[in-house]
């Protein structure tokens, strides 16, 4: 390493900027525990110039020295804060004084606390959002600090959201030659999502579950909009809150043991709530009539059944997850992944409806019937592992069955050698024939024999395996909404979630202005589409009128139209008197409404024509 080079880590973190804070926080924790107490985080918005950057940097570093030391040094820090000279020299002086102090401390009293840091711990400066920093600030800072790298052991960390190319575009060669850059790439945010889904959703230990639509909304927001793991988690938290607030029977959404206890102590009202559940009603209908009556009238019986159903549901979940993982292993071997590559896609498909009725399922079974042996064997082995490690009790038979398949495959291997010889000999025969006629004949014969030939043992076995998997899927991957009492643990109101997480302000604004009844709920405002009611608030009238205009709106015409609409109530006789003179009050109302529209961002004053305003939106009626 060149003597003046500053060790630099280029940290490629991906475009999910909202998650970076978490990464940086844990990074700083690790650094603080193991390497150095001196860490400063810089953000581009705080650093418009080198001066501001130095101020920020020194402020953070000197504060962190306060944290380290006891309160007796406070006066010293305050003094230095007052007349802080934001230059590298003062930073170096500070560093020297701090390291000297800790040195003397170690010799005198607490050896343990500072021994986890190095002798002269480096000062780590983290540029959180490299892209947004101005080149000049970065260049100057790097040039300055490279001059003092011996006195002040700096280490830079660049937080990069896009690609490390940005370093070359931000820093000229003369500056980047002062750095010793090593690249670190964080995991893709999709991997993080998979982990979260795996650890949070595909676990039987958490009683709360997401319904298909809700999960789809969350995943869509993630994949289509922000890639933010944090937002995903927040969305999930919102689901929990929403579920426990809106669903009365969610009181039973807890661990099985507790749920049974709670079911026992349900009040009459709560029992009624259970009876109202659609899935429960379906269940009641499927029962014999005495049972139906008992379920609908006797609370104690209902509680008993509820406990049983809850247990069923629990068992269903345990089985579901194991079989889902197994099935995912199975589909991930297929070419082109007809049911999706990720387990989340498979999970959604299974939640949505009976997966075995879909076309994709059909095609994936077709493909599975063409898998080669080594894939099948590895797949079966992985499935065995999953089932062995799963908590479900019903899988002993399944494991045995799968193991039996595996031994059969091994047997086949021995037999395969013999068959090979046969096929080789027939091919040799083929090569002998040189006569065209004979060749054609043999080829036809071969084809004939192949068509009529029975399936080989391997193929038979393969069919068996696929059929067995199919039966597993049909048994265990029943969609959750077919299960009785699924409403207790599944949160299904996707619309609420969408409203909260993926709001559409433009549409909401348009609806409010175009159809004020939607929000104001005043009967007078109820009107058919298109017509403009004069009862509506002024801004609504103005808005509707402006929808009919082009890009530039003549204010005088607009005012006239407005006054016509407003005056419509007063009847034709009142209208006649002031037809050519607009009432002052109406004028004032109009001006207010227009300026409100301007504030909302629909129009702006135009420079092209003074008495016109320009529309900032397009579309409308």
């Amino acid at each position: 390493m060149k003597s003046k080079e500053i060790p630099t880590a280029a940290l490629v973190l991906g475009v999910n900027v909202t998650d970076h804070d978490l990464t940086f926080r844990s990074l700083s924790e690790v650094l603080q525990n193991n390497i150095t107490p001196y860490i400063a985080f810089l953000e581009a918005k705080d650093c418009p110039g080198v001066k501001k950057l130095m101020q920020k940097l020194m402020g953070q570093l000197m504060n962190c020295s306060v944290d380290l030391d006891s309160s007796e040094d406070e006066d010293y820090v305050q003094v230095s804060h007052n007349r802080i000279r934001c230059s590298m020299t003062s930073l170096i002086n500070w560093y020297e004084s701090v390291t000297k102090k800790t040195d003397s401390e170690t010799s005198s009293k607490k050896r343990t606390s500072s021994s986890r840091h190095w002798q002269s711990p480096p000062v780590v400066v983290v540029f959180k959002d490299m892209e947004s920093f101005s080149t000049k600030v970065l260049q100057d800072f790097i040039v300055i600090s490279s001059q003092h790298i011996r006195e002040l052991p700096l280490v830079l960390i660049f937080g990069i959201a896009t690609s490390p190319m940005i370093i070359h575009s931000l820093l000229p060669h003369s500056v980047s030659s002062l750095l010793c850059i090593e690249l670190f790439q964080s995991l893709s945010c999709k991997d993080h999502l998979s982990t979260i889904i795996d650890k949070l959703l595909l676990r039987a230990s958490f009683p709360f579950k997401l319904g298909e639509k809700v999960l789809q909304v969350l995943i869509n927001i993630f994949l289509y909009h922000d890639f933010s793991v944090q937002n995903f988690v927040k969305g999930f938290q919102l689901c929990i809150v929403e579920h426990f607030c809106s669903q009365p029977v969610s009181v039973l959404c807890c661990q099985l043991v507790d749920a049974k206890k709670r079911a026992d102590s349900l009040s009459h009202d709560q029992c009624e709530n259970i009876r109202k559940l659609p899935s429960f009603q379906r269940y009641v209908e499927s029962q014999v009539s005495e049972n139906q009556i008992a379920l609908l009238t006797e609370d104690t019986y209902l509680k008993e059944i509820t406990q049983k159903l809850l247990e069923d549901l629990h068992v269903y979940h345990e089985n579901y997850l194991s079989v889902l993982r197994c099935f995912h292993v199975f589909t991930s071997f297929l070419p082109k992944y007809p049911l999706g590559k990720q387990i989340r896609e498979l999970h959604c498909a299974c939640l949505e409806n009976q997966v075995w009725e879909t076309e994709e399922y059909e095609s994936s079974l077709q493909l599975a019937r063409m898998l080669n042996k080594s894939d099948l064997v590895t797949m079966l082995q992985q499935c065995v592992e999953i089932f062995v490690s799963s908590s479900g009790k019903e899988f002993d038979n399944t494991v045995e069955k799968l193991k039996e398949f595996l031994t059969q495959f091994q047997k086949l291997e021995a037999e395969a050698f013999q068959e090979q010889d046969v096929s080789v000999s027939s091919q040799k025969e083929l090569q002998k024939k040189t006569d065209l006629y004979h060749l054609q004949k043999t080829l036809l014969e071969l084809k004939e024999s192949r068509r009529s030939k029975k399936l080989t043992k391997f193929e038979m076995l393969r069919f068996e395996v696929v059929d067995y998997i199919d039966s597993l899927v049909r048994n265990y991957l029943v969609p959750a909404n077919h299960k009785t009492l699924h409403e207790i643990v599944y949160f299904n109101t996707a619309s609420v979630l969408r409203e909260h997480l993926n709001a559409a302000p433009r549409i909401a604004l348009h609806t409010a202005l175009n159809n004020p009844y939607r929000y104001l709920k005043n009967q007078e405002l109820k009107s058919d589409e298109g017509s403009i009611s004069n009862k509506a608030p002024d801004i609504c009238i103005v808005y509707k009128l402006h929808l009919e205009c082009g890009r530039l709106i003549n204010l005088v015409d607009w005012l006239e139209a407005f006054s016509t609409v407003v005056m419509a109530t007063e009847g034709p006789n009142a209208d006649a008197a002031s037809s050519d003179q607009v009432d002052d009050i109406i004028h004032a109302r109009f001006i207010r409404a227009v300026s409100e529209l301007e504030l909302l961002g629909f129009i702006k004053p135009s420079k092209q024509k003074t008495d016109h305003v320009a529309r900032l939106t397009w579309g409308g009626c």
Binding site: V15, V50, K51, R85, E131, C180, F227, A504, K604, L616
Partner: protein, 447 residues
């Protein structure tokens, strides 16, 4: 070779100085004759310019140090405001004038204060009979400070009435410094670039003690043969020489070749140096990584450089937003109808174009476009319906913070913001490929 001669200084010191500043003897002797004897007043200000690493700073520093002239050396990049700069000069003055008293904090906000404090500082007898030199490195920064700083430094001798000379070091010519209102013209001195012979001589000086001078010189020769075309920066060359020398020695160490076996050594090192030119010289991989590679004898191909990671993962709609922004930036507005309406009718390119549109839009660079156009294009290129949700708008903003789009003009957000797409064609094609969108079909330039 002009031997340095000056009556004021002992010959031994001058000889030592000469050995320290190879290939800069003429400049040094010129400086010495301007400086004159210690107590003599020198030219008030000297402006030294020359290309990067032509030895300006080094020569000044060694000259002042070896001759033990009183001086203050300040880097103007480091002291980025005038106040910091002036205070730093005063602090250094205090330091070199008095060992006795502790340096106290000086406050100096204006140049007027500076002159006053400077006079006070220089009063001590050490400076009385000697010229004080103030060297301002990277002097081009002075232009960005207050307007009076540069002219005042140039006539500091006159303003303070003390024996002081200000030396400005810069990479740019004096003409770019001269203020509009005129100022005292400094004596300008040019440091020419080192020639290849100079470089060879200087680089060969710091040879490895274990090997002979000729062996190292041969190595430098090979190194220059590879790198001289792309890099004449002495510092960089020194760095590269140090990095790759161990590789050069390898055959000798292993006993496969002796030190005279230049051809063999050349065969061994040349491909290695070429690789270095593409990787470590461009800072694609860091020097420590390069050293590690050498130690492990690995191929640099295993290690991907910074530029290899061009792939940027974006959310689905961000990709389309970026594509839409690219189309909006590089297509003329009138062609939108043709690309995005279903029944646009046939428009021939030749008739359709205005004269100025005949030049490729890609050569002219991206043009700004309003937000509404971006959204309109977005809606027409995405297959399914996109609701104009808050997320879409925040995605546009985050694309701006990622520097993939840039906002044109700092207008109010409500006032119809305008953007530009700043990504390259290759980048956008890679993005478009991931969403199966044939962007070339939609670009007017490729029609």
């Amino acid at each position: 070779m002009p031997n340095l001669e000056h009556p004021a200084y002992p010959a031994a010191t001058l000889l030592h100085l000469e050995s320290l500043v190879p290939c800069r003897e003429s400049q040094v002797s010129m400086l010495l004759s301007i400086f004159g004897e210690r107590q003599q007043f020198s030219f008030p200000s000297i402006f030294i310019y020359g290309h990067t690493s032509s030895g300006k700073t080094y020569v000044m520093q060694t000259l002042l140090k070896t001759l033990q002239l009183p001086h203050v050396f300040v880097n103007c990049v480091e002291y980025f405001t005038s106040r910091l700069l002036l205070e730093e000069i005063l602090m250094q003055l205090q330091n070199c004038s008095s060992e006795t008293e502790q340096t106290s904090q000086v406050h100096c906000d204006t140049f007027n204060d500076f002159v006053r404090l400077f006079k006070q500082a220089v009063v001590s007898e050490e400076f009385e009979d000697q010229t004080l030199y103030i060297v301002l490195d990277r002097a081009e920064q002075l232009r960005e400070m207050e307007a009076n700083i540069l002219p005042a430094f140039l006539r500091l001798q006159e303003l303070t009435d003390r024996n002081v000379t200000v030396i400005l070091l810069s990479e740019i010519v004096w003409e770019l410094f001269r203020p509009n209102i005129g100022c005292f013209e400094p004596f300008t001195l040019y440091f020419p670039d080192y020639s290849i012979g100079h470089l060879q001589k200087i680089l060969s000086q710091n040879h490895h003690p274990k090997y002979s001078v000729d062996f190292y010189a041969a190595y430098i020769n090979i190194l220059l043969g590879v790198f001289y075309m792309v890099c004449r920066d002495l510092k960089e060359l020194q760095h590269l020489a140090a990095l790759n020398f161990s590789k050069y020695c390898e055959p000798v160490v292993r006993g496969e070749a002796n030190e005279r076996d230049t051809r063999k050594l050349w065969k061994n090192i040349e491909p290695h140096l070429k690789k270095a030119m593409h990787t470590v010289y461009l800072r694609e991989i860091s020097s420590s990584q390069w050293e590690r590679l050498q130690r492990d004898d690995g191929e640099p191909g295993q290690l991907k450089g910074l530029s290899a990671h061009t792939h940027v993962e974006l959310p689905y709609y961000s990709k389309f937003l970026l594509i839409a922004a690219y189309l909006a930036s590089y297509n003329p507005v009138r062609t939108d109808k043709r690309f995005f309406l279903k029944h646009h009718g046939k428009i021939r390119k030749t008739n359709f174009m205005k004269k100025h549109e005949k030049t490729s839009n890609h050569l002219l660079g991206p043009k700004p476009f309003p937000l509404d156009r971006l959204l309109a294009i977005l809606y027409s290129i995405v297959d399914n319906r996109v609701a104009p949700t808050a997320n879409i708008f925040s995605q546009i903003t985050s694309l701006v913070t990622l520097q993939l789009l840039s906002m044109v003009g700092h207008n109010d957000q409500l006032d119809g913001p305008r953007y530009k797409c700043t990504v390259s064609l290759d980048f956008i094609r890679a993005i478009a490929r991931t969403v199966n969108f044939d962007i070339i079909k939609y670009l007017y330039d490729f029609l």
